[in-house]
Symmetry: C2
Subunit: 365 residues, 2 copies
């Protein structure tokens, strides 16, 4: 019997057990080929079926309109931080970036490397340590900006845009840590990118969703070929050898997501998990102090909170680990506790954490 822990890591993070079991069971012999999926040509019909199914499942689960392409690339959000401005901003175009946390700031800094002063910060809550999202009145957009970049969920700080910012412009969005947590109207998005390692699959796969007009805006002239989005769109992400094993596992995760009722079922689970965990924090507001200052900005993916002392934080992490709960130590910039409760974390997992938190406050509160 395999022992499995309750996994609250912020990413790489837990994946659905049935998707992992399928991966294990087929590891030496995939689709009746007598090979592992990592041993077969990416030009074979067996691999291409997986590749196409992964893309079709992204489309289906998210309800993407026909004028969006799905690309499966490499390099994570970090490479996307660079590819977005390399494709969209080298030739005089301008953009606004909303910086709402550690990763949003990195996206902005990388865009400045490429486009300098043509990218502007449209708003930031850095003075408040990113403990809330900016209000509409705090955002100022450049009328000449071609798009507004934002980060839909701030993994480090635990804020999430429940309503996307009112910009009047197309969005470009880093959705690495909350893609597939719920369905949303995609029409205002020109481009979405997401490293797989939170809600989608293993690290090493990057999902890019791009609207046809944004694809047409991409200018890959003079760029090394891998760095241009259009070639990947034209070749169905088979321009070069893709990360086949990672894409296969992405397919397994998405097929599992579909089997349990798609994003409607996943969202219901996520809302229940959030209600349980924030409910516990709010019940013991004198003991558990949320990092995020505005309830409306709370993330359903990453829940950051403090305990009264540093010693209690350390004890919490230690005792939780003893009880089979892993990955609760907060990110270095914030400290405290961070419970990441991505899609693969079950309601029962959160109930386990909440029961532990109730006991902990009784013993130490």
């Amino acid at each position: 019997m395999t022992r499995r822990v309750v996994n609250f890591y912020a990413g790489p993070a837990g994946l659905p057990l049935p998707a992992l079991e399928r991966t294990r069971d087929e590891l030496l012999d995939f689709a009746g080929t007598g090979m592992s999926v990592m041993e077969i040509s990416h030009r074979s019909k067996e691999y291409e079926a997986v590749h196409d199914e992964a893309i079709a499942l992204v489309r289906e689960l998210m309800g993407l309109p026909a004028n969006y392409k799905v690309l499966l690339l490499q390099g994570g959000a970090h490479l996307a931080f660079g590819m977005v401005p390399l494709n969209l901003l080298r030739h005089g175009r301008k953009a606004d970036y909303i910086t709402t946390g550690n990763w949003a700031e990195r996206a902005f800094a990388e865009a400045k490397l490429v486009a300098g002063d043509r990218v502007r910060e449209a708003g930031s809550t850095k003075k408040e340590k990113f403990a809330r999202l900016p209000k509409a009145a705090e955002l100022k957009f450049d009328p000449e900006a071609a798009f507004v970049h934002f980060t839909s969920n701030n993994t480090v700080e635990g804020t999430q845009w429940q309503q996307f910012p009112a910009t009047g412009k197309p969005y470009v969005c880093d959705m690495s840590s909350d893609i597939m947590w719920r369905k949303f109207p995609v029409e205002q998005f020109g481009l979405i990118y997401a490293g797989a390692q939170k809600n989608l699959g293993p690290s090493g796969v990057t999902v890019v969703i791009v609207r046809d007009d944004f694809l047409a805006m991409c200018n890959a002239e003079g760029l090394p070929s891998y760095l241009g989005y259009p070639i990947h769109a034209e070749k169905n992400s088979l321009y070069n050898t893709p990360p086949c094993l990672g894409i296969y596992i992405l397919r397994n995760v998405l097929a599992y997501n579909k089997s349990i009722g798609g994003l409607a079922a996943i969202e219901a689970n996520n809302r229940r998990k959030g209600a349980l965990l924030y409910g516990c924090i709010d019940r013991h507001a004198g003991f558990y102090k949320p990092f995020v200052t505005e309830k409306a900005d709370r993330s359903f993916m990453n829940v950051d909170f403090f305990l009264p002392t540093k010693d209690l934080i350390d004890l919490f992490v230690k005792e939780a680990k003893k009880n089979g709960m892993i990955g609760l130590k907060g990110y270095r910039d914030v400290g405290g506790i961070r419970a990441s409760i991505y899609n693969a974390v079950s309601v029962a997992d959160v109930e386990t954490l909440v029961a532990f938190m109730e006991g902990f406050v009784k013993r130490n509160g």
Copy 2:
């Protein structure tokens, strides 16, 4: 009982069965963590141990001197085609490229995108369809070139530099399809890159080996951060989330390589496999026609040959498949048969192929 075929794919290609079995057995619970290796933080001590072991095994198996760094990146050789000139050639430096096949030409074309006329073709056998490597007298080097780029094994055409070209310059080398096939004196190499999906592991991992003086020559100024080699060297390839699962499998493959006697044992196997297969081709020289025109240039990794007619080629592929041998169809630019016999293809596998070839020539010769 898992059925396994004999795998002659050119890449992604077969991997050693014990390395795959270890991957399967640990897939739900890695290193006693109760998690898959793809579910655990890349900052955890358990993952870092794997990461460091993979790097240490590259060093040990290849016998790398202390003044080389090993980086584990993403994007395959394609992204490396761009990263090499972006790091080394943007600021007036010059380089020579030897173009000996399909992939060598791509490397050259990508370098020209970045550095224009500052990269020169030092020699090419394109007029002969790359069916041999250039002779020393056919190579002309620019005295101002900072390095000479070459492709150590030409996957498509089936040529391999048994003696590296005499250049008097440091090498930069695409070793994607023959890294780890034998030990070689590494001192003349300034930088080596290799997509993992032939001799190392799954696609989605790129191994880069860089000499300290070449690392110091890298200028990442103004590049999106992911594209600079120095940041990855400084952060031990943990600047961003690495492709953890792929690196773990790389570690499993290399640990297996070490367990069977390292590169000395692997080279002996490879030479035996080459002798068996080329022996059969040469015995039936009227029937099996090698694509490569110079015996000295023959590859121990990819063996290209023709049969008298297109129909016989198709029949060969079909009957081989019926006998459990996969991946023998030649690359579209060359046609014919290509048997890729990377490290994970055993002597017994090649004996199976040779026995089939002997029977085929008897029935159809």
